[in-house]
């Protein structure tokens, strides 16, 4: 009984929140320019989804997010593996990496627009730059936390560095890498959206700004909700990946049992 309780409780809470929103707007007669009612936002969503233009924007944002994310995963794992296996290189580059990590990368968007133009490329780059760091740092941590006993086995078998990386270090890092990817996909969406906010005329970020400029507040809320649903789906996809990629791992075992 208890294991299925969330299947009912989660929608209920969601419904309660919408009801609260609706009640608040009704009771205090909030201006629709500040907070539109759930009904008008709902109507706006239905409206938007019927227009092929909206779908164009959705594909645009999806493409930028996924392309940026994939670049971040490939480069992040590659560089993370290199740094994780080469301690002197990591020590050398560490101040640089920390510096780049704490830098507010969103501030780079205008620069990227200058460099890569108003098209999708500047957004892909922004998404990749944001998603890259969690993937890379988690890969480094994963490679460093390979058990000593496992290293001993590979040493006793006279395995080469490449063999150790492929057979032990990368698989052992996968749970860490997936955690980095879960953070990364969310950041990739943010990167793409912020890029669209600040430059260009495509994507859901642009749509939200355009709606606001037209005083179409329900439209803006509708775009934000569509974005949230997309983000949720992408995140769920990465979480599901965990089950396929690391079926042997404790975290997968636990979620299966509950």
């Amino acid at each position: 009984m208890k294991r299925h309780v969330h299947l009912v409780a989660t929608p209920l809470i969601l419904a309660a929140l919408v009801l609260l929103w609706w009640g608040y707007v009704r009771a205090f007669e909030v201006s629709p320019l500040i907070l539109p009612s759930p009904a008008s936002v709902g109507a706006s969503i239905v409206d938007l989804l019927q227009s092929p233009r909206t779908w164009n924007h959705i594909w645009y944002t999806l493409y930028e997010t996924i392309a940026g994310f994939l670049i971040a995963v490939v480069v992040g794992i590659g560089l993370g593996a290199l740094l994780g296996k080469t301690p002197w290189l990591e020590r050398t580059l560490n101040p640089l990496i920390v510096g780049l990590q704490v830098m507010p990368k969103i501030a780079l968007v205008p620069l990227f627009v200058v460099w890569f133009g108003f098209g999708p490329t500047s957004k892909v780059v922004m998404a990749a730059v944001l998603a890259f760091f969690p993937v890379m740092t988690n890969t480094i941590i994963g490679i460093k936390s390979v058990e000593r006993g496992h290293r001993d086995v590979m040493t006793s078998l006279n395995a080469s560095r490449w063999q150790s990386l492929r057979e032990v270090e990368l698989p052992a890092s996968l749970p860490f890498i997936l955690t980095g990817m879960e953070v990364g996909i969310v950041l990739a969406i943010i990167g793409a959206i912020v890029g669209e906010y600040l430059g260009g005329s495509n994507g859901l970020g642009y749509m939200a700004v355009a709606a606001l400029n037209a005083f179409d507040v329900p439209g803006m809320f509708a775009v934000i909700i569509i974005l949230t649903v997309i983000g949720f789906l992408l995140y769920a996809l990465v979480v599901m990946l965990r089950r396929f990629v690391t079926p042997w791992h404790e975290s997968v075992l636990i979620t299966r049992e509950t």
Binding site: L157, N158, A172, W248
Partner: protein, 268 residues
């Protein structure tokens, strides 16, 4: 298989081994000194001693996991270290099992067992066939497709032994392989290990701190004394094979156990 050199020379020869560690404070600790030991082909040698006597260090040196500060290790007449690297043909003669099974959780049991073959480029069908034969030898047939976490501690240790045997090494090195198991499982594993050893005809060097385990398994027991670790006594255990639970109740067996315990008590 038996070459001229390996027939005439001992399977393992340690000469003038010494191991020093640098401590963090900048000092030096002498972990092991004056180790000279020859182990014959097919012999079962047990290293025993109080903690800090360097028995694990000695085994790890034989396995090539540690490079000794001075002295040489020869495996079947060939030096284990050539220049700065382990001699690969000597390494192939060694199978190593640790206190923890150290199976890789992301590989199924058969993949774990076949890993040494994979690293040496043996085709998949062939190495899985070998893995199946080994699961039968170590008594975990039917568990080939399981994940390591699905097996009990004893079964995991059996799989680790199977992995150590997969290259068909002439020498099996074991560092307290049953130390983490409960007493009953441990006794059973000792009988099993004796059976595997008799079937494979390999040379075994096993580290333990259990006196009865040492006497039950060994042809020769090497007793090490601590600080610095050095060889104290070598004791022959001449009982016939296969030994079983009854062997352990015999007075001759008990006498060796008693002597060993006395010497060990005198050290600490």
């Amino acid at each position: 298989m038996v070459s001229e050199a390996s027939a005439s020379s001992p399977e393992i020869r340690l000469s003038g081994l010494e191991q020093r560690y640098r401590t963090e404070a900048g000092g030096e600790v002498l972990a092991l000194t004056g180790i000279d030991l020859s182990i014959r082909r097919g012999e079962f040698v047990v290293l025993i001693g109080p903690s800090g006597c360097g028995k694990t260090t000695m085994l790890r040196i034989m396995a090539g996991l540690i490079r000794p500060t001075s002295g040489t290790v020869e495996i079947a007449g060939r030096p284990l270290w050539k220049g700065g690297a382990r001699d690969d043909s000597a390494v192939q003669e060694l199978g190593v099992a640790f206190q923890e099974a150290n199976l890789f959780p992301w590989m199924r049991i058969e993949e774990n067992i076949a890993l040494p073959l994979k690293l040496r480029g043996v085709p998949k069908a062939k190495r899985l066939e070998r893995a199946r034969a080994l699961t039968e030898l170590v008594g975990i047939k039917g568990f080939e497709r399981r994940w390591p976490r699905e097996l009990s501690g004893g079964m995991r240790q059996r799989a680790a032994i199977a992995r150590a045997l997969s290259l068909d090494p002439h020498i099996l090195l074991m560092d307290e392989p049953f130390g983490a198991l409960d007493a009953m499982t441990r006794d059973r594993m000792n009988v099993e290990l004796q059976r595997i050893w008799m079937m494979q005809g390999c040379t075994v060097v096993l580290v333990t701190h259990s006196i009865s385990e040492a006497v039950f398994l060994a042809d020769r027991i090497v007793l090490l004394s601590p600080r610095p670790g050095r060889m104290d006594t070598i004791i022959d255990v001449p009982f016939p094979r296969p030994r079983d639970g009854d062997s352990a109740t015999r007075p001759e067996f008990q006498a060796i156990v008693r002597d060993l315990r006395k010497r060990l008590d005198a050290m600490s």
